[in-house]
Amino acid sequence: MSDAAVVVEDLVKRFGTFTAVDRVSFDARRGEVLGFLGPNGAGKSTIIRILCALLRPTSGRVRVAGLDVTRAPEAVRARIGYMSQRFSLYDDLTAIENLRLFGGLYAVPAGDLDARIRWAVEMGGLSGREHELVGTLAGGWKQRLALGCAVLHRPPILFLDEPTSGVDPLSRRQFWDLIHHMAASGVTVFVSTHYMDEAEYCNRLALIDRGRLVALGTPGELRSAPLGGTLLLVECERLGEALAVLAQTPGVREAAVFGDALHVMVPDAETALRELPGALAAHGLRCERIEAIAPTLEDVFVHRVGTAP
C-alpha cells in the first residue's frame, strides 16, 4: 500500500448555488506536515471540515487514514486530532484535569490513560506544573498542553489551526520542534494559517483560492515557480509617494512596501529596470537601487491568488 495518509480526489462541496470547494485533488504522505494557505473565505476551512468528517462532500472521494469519510465518518473522527488557535482548554481546571477530560472525550482506554497523560506532560515540558490551573499558565505552556490534549488518543492525523499565532517566538520554536518530531514518528499534520512564518515550517504547502487548489509544493518550489513576471526591489526616497507613482506607471502589475524598500511586480524586467528610475525621477524621487529579487512566500501568495477582496 502507498504511503498516503490522506487522499482527496475531485472533491466538490456546494452550499446551495455556491461552490465552496471546486474539484480539489491532492494527497498527504504519512509523516508529512502540509500547510493550507488561502484568503479568508477561500474554502480552507470547508476542506478541513470534510477531512475531519464533519461535513459531507457533494462529490468526489476523500480517504483519511485509509477510511472513506462519507462511509465511515465516526471511524475517521476517532483517528484525527484537532487543535484550534483558541486552545479549547478549561481555564478553571488544572493541566492534569484537562488531560483527563480530553482522554475521556476521546475514549482513551482506561488502562492506557495514566501512561498517556505522563507522556503528554513530559512532551509538553509541563512537569512540575501538572496541578496548576490552566488559566494561570503562560501562552507557550497552554499551547503545548492543548497539543497534548489533541493527541492523547494517538491520532495518525493532526489538524492545527494557526497554532502559533501570537505565541512568543521561543515557545513557537519549541512547538514546531515537537510537531516535527511527531511527524518523524509517522503522524501526518495539517496546518491552516494566514501567516507565512508558520507556512515556512510546513514540508509542502497547498494554496487554495476561491475553492480551487492553485498551487501545491514545498516552500522552495513555490518561491521558485514562475509568477508570470519578475519581482524587483526598489530603494528610493519618500516610499509612500514612490508607491503611488509606481502604482500608476505602465508596466507595473503590483507594488507594495517592504520595510525601507518597495517590492514591485513587473511582467517585463528589462524594460522596467530601464524605465522605472526615470518614472520616479519625473516626480522628483531619486531611485537608489533597483534589482530583481527572489519572491518571498507572501509575494507568491499575493500573486497566485486573485486580487478580489
Partner: protein
Amino acid sequence: MADPAVAAGGLTKRFAGTLAVDRLGFTAATGEVFGLVGPDGAGKTTTLRMLAGVMTPDAGSATVAGHDVVRDPEAVKSRISYMPQGFGLYEDLTVDENIRFYADVFGVARAARDERAERLLAASGMARFRDRLAGQLSGGMKKKLGLTCALIHTPRVLLLDEPTTGVDPVSRRDFWRILYDLVAEGVTVVVSTAYLDEAERCHHLALLHEGRLLHCDTPARLKAGMPGAVVRVTSPAPDAVRDALRQAPGVTSALVVGDGVHLVVDDAARRVPEVRARLAAAAVPCAEVAAVAPTFEDVFVAAVATSGEAGP
C-alpha cells in the same frame, strides 16, 4: 527638527501585581510608521491605551501630537484616531452607514466625508460593498472598514492595535498600502503586531517582551545588529540534518523548517564549509547550504536571550 509625534518616557502600568508595561520609552517621528512588535502579553495593547489617553499610566509620561496624555488626555483624543482590537462596527448597519456614523461622531463635513470615504474604500478594494451589512463582511473586510471609519477624520496620529490579526496576506497588503498613503500625507502611525514578519514594514520599531523594551531601531539596523548569523540548509531529510548539526561547533540552534533546517551560527563564513563537510561525512543529503538574512523571529529570539530571559 520638528518635535516627535509620539514621545514616551518611563511609561509603566501594573495590573494586580503584574508589570504589564515596565519603564517603556521611545519616540516616533512625524510621518513614520512606528511598530510595537511582540508576542501576546508583551504590553502592546496597554501601551496603545496609554498613548490614546484612555488609560492613565502608573508612572512615566507620554506626549502625543504635542499634548501630554496624563495632563490633557482630551486634547490628545481630538488629534488622534485609535483603533482597538475588535473596533466597534455596527453589524446591522451597512458599510456606508457605519462610515456616516463615525463621520458624524468626529464632526466631519459631508463633502469631506464623501471624498474621503470614496478614496479609502477604493484603496481597500471595498467600493463594491458599500451597501453590504457590516455583519456580513469577512474578517479582513471588517478590519478594513474599521480602518476607514477610524480615518474618516484626519488624525495627526493613528494608533492601531493589531489591525491585521486574522487578515489574509492580500487584504494585509491593501491595509499597509493605505497606511503608507497616510504617512505620505504626514500622519504618524503607531501600529502593534504579534507577527514578527510585519516588523519589516515599519520605519522604526520597538521589540517588546513581557512589558519591557528589548530594542528600538530601524528594521535594517536591528537585523544587522543581531549577534551571529543564519545559515539555511535545504534538504529532503531535515530531521537528519538537525540531528547531525545540533551539537556541531559554533551552532547555537538548529530548527527544522519545511524543506530544510535553519541554523544560527557564530560565524557564517567559517561554519558554512564545516556544515557541508559534516553533512557529507554523515551521508546526510543536502541540496544547499547558504548564509541567509535573519528573520525578525531570529532577531527577537537573540534579543530575548541576551536580555537574560530564559523564556518558558
